[in-house]
C-alpha cells in the first residue's frame, strides 16, 4: 500500500455488477420520506398511493440514491480503482425515472464508470447506475459526479 494513492488510469469504462438485489419495503420508503421531510400521502399511506394509480407506496424522487450508493460500494471498495473515499466530494447528481420506485420492487443496480478526468491533483469521476426491476425492465438511471480531491 502506498501513502498517496490515485485514481486508476483505466477506471473509465469499467462495470460493477456485483450488488445484491435491493428489496424496497414500505417501512424503508416511510423512513426515507421522513428523513427528507416528505409528507406527501403517497409515501406513507398505501390507499393514497393506490388512489394515484400506483401499485404500492411511492418512493421520494431521490430515493434511488440509496440503491445507487449501495451499488457504488463495490467501486469505492475496489482497491484497484484507487478511490480514497475520505477525499470524495459529491459534485452533482441526476435521477431519471423510467417509472416510479414502489414498495415491493426488487431492484438491481449496475454501476458504469462513464468518465474520469484529471482535475488539478485530483480527479472528477462520473458514474451511472442503471437500476432495473426483477423483470429486467429499467426503473431509474442515476448519474453522479464525484470529485476526488488530490493530495496536496
Amino acid at each position: 500500500m502506498t501513502a498517496s494513492q490515485s485514481v486508476a488510469e483505466d477506471l473509465a469504462g469499467r462495470l460493477y455488477e456485483g450488488a445484491p438485489v435491493y428489496v424496497v419495503s414500505r417501512e424503508k420508503i416511510r423512513e426515507f420520506a421522513r428523513a427528507v421531510k416528505a409528507q406527501a400521502p403517497a409515501h406513507h399511506d398505501v390507499d393514497a398511493a393506490r388512489a394515484l394509480g400506483h401499485a404500492d407506496l411511492v418512493a421520494p424522487p431521490t430515493f434511488a440514491i440509496v440503491v445507487a450508493q449501495a451499488a457504488d460500494a463495490e467501486l469505492i471498495q475496489d482497491p484497484t480503482a484507487g478511490i480514497d473515499f475520505s477525499r470524495v466530494v459529491h459534485a452533482d447528481q441526476r435521477f431519471t425515472h423510467h417509472r416510479p420506485i414502489v414498495a415491493g420492487d426488487e431492484l438491481t443496480a449496475v454501476v458504469h464508470v462513464d468518465a474520469v478526468r484529471a482535475l488539478g491533483a485530483g480527479a472528477m469521476i462520473t458514474t451511472r447506475e442503471e437500476i432495473a426491476d426483477a423483470a429486467g425492465e429499467p426503473v431509474a438511471t442515476a448519474v453522479s459526479s464525484l470529485l476526488v480531491r488530490g493530495e496536496e
Partner: protein
Amino acid sequence: MTVTFAELEKGQGIGTRRIEVTRADLVRYAGASGDFNPIHWNERFARAVGLPGVIAHGMFTMGAAVQLVTDWIGDPGAILDYQTRFTKPVPVPDAQDDAAPDTGGTAITVTGTIGALDAEASTVRVDLAVTAPDESGKDQKVLVKAQAVVRI
C-alpha cells in the same frame, strides 16, 4: 389540487418553502440513506478536513428541496427527472440549549419557478432556487441548476 397544462406559463412561481434543518435531522438522514460520513455529524472531524463545521448531506438538501414540487403536483410519481449541482455546503450549527438537542440548526429556502414547457410531452421543467446561510450568516446558493421535469 389539480394542475392543468393550459394554465401554466414560463416564469410562473410554484411557491416558496423554508425547511428547518437541525443536527438531529442529519442523523436521521444518515440512518435512512446509509451515508454515515462523519462530516455530517462530528464537529471536530468536519473542521479537521477544512469545513466550517458539520454540514448537511448534499443529498439531504436535494431530497428535501424537491418536496415543494411534489406537493405542488400532488403525485411524487410525476417527477420524471431531477438534477442538481452541489455548489456550497450548508453548515448546520449545534443546538444552543443543552436541554433541547433537537433545536438550533439552520434553514434552507426553496423557491420554484416554471423554467420551460413541453406541450407535446405534457411536461414542465421546474427550476428551484435553493439558498441557505453560510457560517457568517450570508445567504448562499447551495444548489445550482436544480431542475425537476414534471409530467402534467
